[in-house]
Each structure stands twice: as C-alpha cells, then as structure tokens.
C-alpha cells in the first residue's frame, strides 16, 4: 500500500473530507483507509460527535448578549418618529 494514507495523515484531512474539499484521488485513499482502520473510523466519528456537541451549545454561553441594552436601542427607536 505505497500510496495509502497513514493514520497520522488521515486525521489531518478529516475536515477537508467533511467539507467535501478533497480531490477525487485523495478522497478515494481516505475512504479506503477508513474502511480498513477502526481507529480512524472512531476518530472521524468523534469529530462528527464534536460538531454535534457544538451545535447543542447555547450561543449566549460563549458570547453573552447585552439583551437589555439592545432592547433599549429598540425602545429608543420605536418611540422616535413615524413608523417606517
């Protein structure tokens, strides 16, 4: 398997694979390696699980929203002049 990917190489291509950014030949080598390697299959699954977990994060836990201040912007505008 001289043209096969190593595990160390595969883990660096995971995002390009998921983003469909691999050229066809590399994608083929990626898929072939994956079919034979439990470790890399699990690694890829864990990256997918990581993406799922990130999707469950409450955005305000990362970047708190100054809700009251923004509602203040709205109230100032709403009380100001004719409707658009």
């Amino acid at each position: 398997m001289t043209d096969g990917l190593t595990c160390a190489e595969l883990v660096e291509l995971v995002t390009d694979y998921l983003e469909d950014a691999l050229d066809p030949a590399t994608r083929q080598r990626f898929v072939e390696h994956l079919a034979l390697c439990r470790g890399c299959e699990d690694y890829l699954d864990q990256v997918r699980a990581t993406i799922t977990a990130a999707g469950r994060v409450t955005p305000a836990d990362l970047d708190p929203v100054p809700r009251d201040r923004l509602l203040g912007v709205f109230r100032d505008w709403a009380g100001d002049g004719p409707k658009v």
Binding site: C7, E12, V14, T52, A54, P59, W77
Partner: protein
C-alpha cells in the same frame, strides 16, 4: 442552536412586525443573532467593548433602514452585511487595517499529538499506537451537560480566528461561504481554522471522557 424562522415569507413578516414596533419580534432576532454578531464584529475591531458597540450600531441601522430591505437576500444575510460594514469601518478607524486574511496562519503543525502514532522506523509508520478510546453513547456523552461545558470551555480558549470560525460554523450553523465573506477568509484558510479548532475541541472532549471513565470506572 434553534434555527431562526427562515424564508422570504418569514423575513417579510418579521420586517413588518419590526416596522410595527413589535418588541417581541425584535427580542427574538436578538436572541438568535446577537451573539454571532458579536463574534463576527470581534474579528474586525480591537476590543470587546468596541464589538459590542458595533452590534448596537448595527441594530439601530437595521431598524432605521427597514424600508430598504427588499428580500433579495435573507434578512439574516442583510443584517450581517450591515454588521460587517459597520465593523470594518470601525476597524479602520481603530487603525486595525490589516484584514485577518492578510495575516499568515499562526497555527501550524499536527492537530493530534504525534506521539500517538508509530515512528518512521516502525513496521506501520504513522499508524495509531493505540486507537482512540471509544466515547460513551451520545446521551451519556457529547449530549450531556458536562460535555457541553467542556465544549464551551474549549471553544473559549481557542485562538481568536479559530474561535470565530468554530462558533459561526458549528454553534450557529453558518455556511462556509458566509463565514469566508464575513471574516475575509479564503476558503482554504477557513477550513484550516475550522480543522484546528474542531481538533482542539475533540481533544478536550477526549480528555473529559477519559476522566469520566476513570472516575466512573466499573469492572
């Protein structure tokens, strides 16, 4: 996160509600978009306080310009375009005129510890020494509250640009093209940042689950 209502009909309804001074409609938009707006703005200006002002100025511009929304793009795209313009203008004023894309990626090297792979003189160079340990089932694992805390901590500790890309792509669900436009990134650069960021978050979860397994070890 929850998807905001989408589609032209929903956008038109929202704009109509805003024009009628419907505060609840405004609050819903803020809850859906404001934290992403902050993260985008933060990439173009030099302080958190400045990014908060950009978000505030953007909402005011959106409200004042409601009659200029024509539905040719989605409301979200329109709002974020105003945001990026506002942030860039302010960034220039702050003399942070070097766009992010002009900076060489400071990040380099493997995203998985090379020590986990076999050496060049091994019979299987570059192969796992030991496979990654399996994770608990999703309900006990990545969807659990502790795991979510670990993910939040990991994302917060990422370098700025990785943090922005991971947050916008994986937490808020923006597309790659949108993120490239909003952050002035090439597609390749966007993928590199996403790759490094996701790998770091995965590594944090791996440590988290490893610790969980040790604490909760059952024979």
């Amino acid at each position: 996160m929850d998807a905001a209502p989408s589609g032209l009909a929903a956008d038109t309804a929202t704009v109509t509600a805003l024009a009628a001074r419907d505060e609840a409609a405004f609050a819903r938009l803020v809850d859906h978009w404001a934290s992403a707006m902050f993260r985008v703005a933060r990439c173009h200006v030099s302080t958190d306080a400045s990014a908060e002002e950009v978000v505030q100025d953007t909402w005011l511009a959106v409200l004042r310009g409601l009659d200029r929304f024509e539905g040719r793009s989605s409301l979200r795209t329109w709002v974020f375009r105003i945001l990026v313009n506002t942030a860039k203008t302010r960034g220039v004023r702050e003399r942070r005129t070097v766009p992010m894309s002009a900076l060489a990626p400071a990040e380099d090297g493997p995203t998985v510890d090379p020590d986990r792979f076999r050496a060049a003189d091994d019979a299987y160079p570059g192969g796992w020494k030991a496979f990654p340990a399996p994770w608990p089932s999703p309900d006990q694992g990545v969807l659990g509250r502790d795991a979510r805390t670990a993910v939040v901590d990991a994302i917060r500790e990422l370098p700025d640009r990785q943090r922005a890309v991971v947050t916008l792509r994986d937490v808020h669900g923006f597309g790659a093209d949108e993120v490239c436009t909003m952050l002035d990134l090439s597609p390749g650069n966007q993928r590199v940042l996403l790759h490094r960021g996701r790998a770091a978050v995965r590594a944090r979860l791996e440590r988290h689950f490893g610790a969980t397994a040790r604490w909760g070890a059952t024979p």
